[in-house]
């Protein structure tokens, strides 16, 4: 059991930079560039881990604690989300609400740390991040609730298992509405282009990069890895709640686990490529137009819940 938990952690940490690298490569392909290799994020993180951190003399303990807290919070969320198996050994500890609040905890500490150093860029990034978070969180919750209401449980492993058991019958209007809503949220949560540009550094439009501007060396490596892991987790939420087919259920043998792992890899790569296509085909939105995007997502998940109630006759 402990070996299983550690293996899931290992898979999450090992795959997250690969996904990031693949998405960068796809974006480079659409921009007719060659782009860095798929393995480049691993090299970046290894390089950063070997360097010393430069820290401002004005910061408090929060600045040092924040990367670790955010990283651990995101990893803990990873243990509550089905990745390649619906058998979550720590599933008793929390459900999708815990996952959402673990993400919120990570974000809260990153935003605090961005204010801590007292630079104007950090404060700007922190306030923007919290502005977007206040719009994203209700939509995220509602869209997963639509599926949870349908299945009758908020445990993510159970949701995934039930939906995968339904087969094609799972493709219902509310499922699709909730999927579109969650996809819009995934764009915002992973800081992709209509909301934030992950490729910018030192630009006035940046959000996530502005928050972590003060970090360097090992701390930056942890922050970057945490962001990549969060991206992987949100993609696996998309994959395993709405298209969980091929996921291993409890009591599967080793061969099934390997197959499920392969299928999971294919699924997140497809989602990543879709995300990269969306990113290259849209322009970044003005910050004050983002509430419109988020209210579209909120409305879609709301409609999904209404549709569940209608069809189920609640």
């Amino acid at each position: 059991m402990i070996a299983q938990i550690i293996f899931q952690l290992f898979i999450i940490i090992a795959l997250a930079p690969l996904l990031s690298g693949i998405m960068k490569k796809v974006k480079a392909f659409f921009q007719i560039r060659k782009g860095p290799g798929v393995l480049q994020p691993y090299y970046d993180i290894l390089k950063l881990l070997q360097k010393d951190s430069v820290v401002s003399t004005n910061v408090s303990w929060i600045f040092h604690a924040a990367p670790v807290v955010s990283f651990v919070a995101v990893l803990a969320a990873g243990l509550l989300i089905p990745i390649y198996t619906t058998q979550l050994y720590l599933g008793f500890a929390g459900d999708l609400i815990a996952v959402i609040y673990l993400f919120a905890l990570a974000r809260f500490f990153t935003a605090l740390a961005s204010l801590d150093a007292g630079s104007s860029f950090g404060g700007m990034g922190g306030s923007r991040e919290m502005f977007i978070a206040s719009l994203v969180e209700p939509a995220l919750m509602l869209s997963i609730f639509a599926v949870a209401l349908n299945v009758g449980s908020t445990n993510l492993g159970f949701i995934s298992q039930t939906v995968s058991g339904l087969g094609f019958d799972a493709m219902s209007p509310y499922q699709i509405l909730a999927f579109v809503a969650l996809f819009i949220i995934a764009i915002a949560e992973t800081g992709r282009i209509p909301v934030d540009n992950p490729a910018t550094h030192l630009e006035l439009t940046m959000i996530h990069e502005a928050m972590i501007l003060e970090y360097s060396g090992k701390q930056l490596a942890i922050v970057e890895l945490g962001a990549m892991i969060k991206q992987l987790l949100i993609f696996s939420l998309l994959a395993n709640i709405f298209f969980p087919w091929g996921i291993a259920t409890g009591g599967a043998g080793a061969a099934e686990y390997v197959l499920a792992l392969l299928i999971f890899l294919i699924k997140i790569v497809i989602i990543g490529i879709t995300m990269a296509v969306v990113e290259t085909s849209t322009a970044k939105w003005r910050l004050f137009r983002l509430p419109e995007l988020m209210s579209i997502s909120l409305m879609l998940s709301f409609l999904a819940i209404v549709a569940v109630i209608i069809v189920k006759g609640g």
Binding site: M171, S172, P173, Y174, I176, L177, V180, P291, E292, S295, I296, L298, M299, L300, F302, L303, V306, A307, I309, I310, V311, G313
Partner: protein, 219 residues
């Protein structure tokens, strides 16, 4: 509507997408994307009519579906784009109610129509879904007519209401008699043409199609 067993899943999906396209109209600030979303909505409506025709086996509904496809998803959007190009109107739509509040109001309207339809006892869940979707389309179309300043958007609002009525009619009655449908299509087409001419006249008199200006007296 027990006959439409085939494609009841597809019907549910189509109806959900029709609602989504309505929210696309409600949520966009560009005239072109509103017209495009209206075209998509009419195309989905034609698909609904096609499925009803296939499952009931009535040939006149095929004609209705074809007419929807041609008139509502091709000719009317073309007329819109022609008007937008001819009078060189600004591409942004102006609103009395902002985008986010109008989306929330739209959602509330959907809930209200679902709630109202639930109080009527209908045999199958599919037609109750279709009927509540049709009622939300009517009310959202009305809301678009009230809350948008451009005369073009008012024209679009009334067409959304018409689409809603069409959805309700086709999913409840398995299609009205062909003569009635033909009459309605003719009315819609002529209505759009007349409204187009009216918009040209408004533009000529006020040098804008902002209906706010219609309150001003012109000697």
């Amino acid at each position: 509507m027990a006959e439409v067993v085939f494609g009841s899943k597809i019907m549910q999906l189509l109806i959900a997408f029709i609602l989504v396209s309505t929210f696309m109209i409600l949520g966009s600030t560009r005239l072109y994307s509103c017209v495009r979303a209206f075209g998509i909505q009419s195309f989905l409506l034609a698909c609904v009519a096609g499925i009803v025709a296939y499952s009931t086996g009535k040939y006149d509904i095929y004609i209705v579906a074809l007419l929807t496809l041609i008139i509502k998803s091709a000719v009317i959007p073309y007329i819109f784009i022609y008007i937008i190009r001819e009078i060189k109107v600004k591409k942004e739509i102006e609103l009395y109610v902002n985008i986010s509040p109008s989306l929330i109001i739209g959602g509330t309207l959907v809930v209200i129509s679902y709630y109202l339809i639930r109080s009527i006892s209908i045999i199958s869940e599919l037609s109750s879904l279709a009927l509540s979707a049709s009622m939300s389309l009517v009310s959202i179309g009305l809301f678009i007519m009230i809350s948008r300043k451009k005369a073009l958007m008012q024209m679009l609002g009334i067409l959304i209401m018409e689409n809603g009525l069409f959805l309700g009619a086709i999913s409840l009655t398995n299609g009205m008699p062909l003569l009635v449908e033909l009459g309605i299509f003719f009315d819609v087409l002529i209505g759009v043409l007349i409204m187009g001419i009216l918009i040209f006249r408004i533009n000529k008199t006020f040098e804008s199609i902002d209906t706010d200006l219609l309150k001003n007296l012109i000697g």
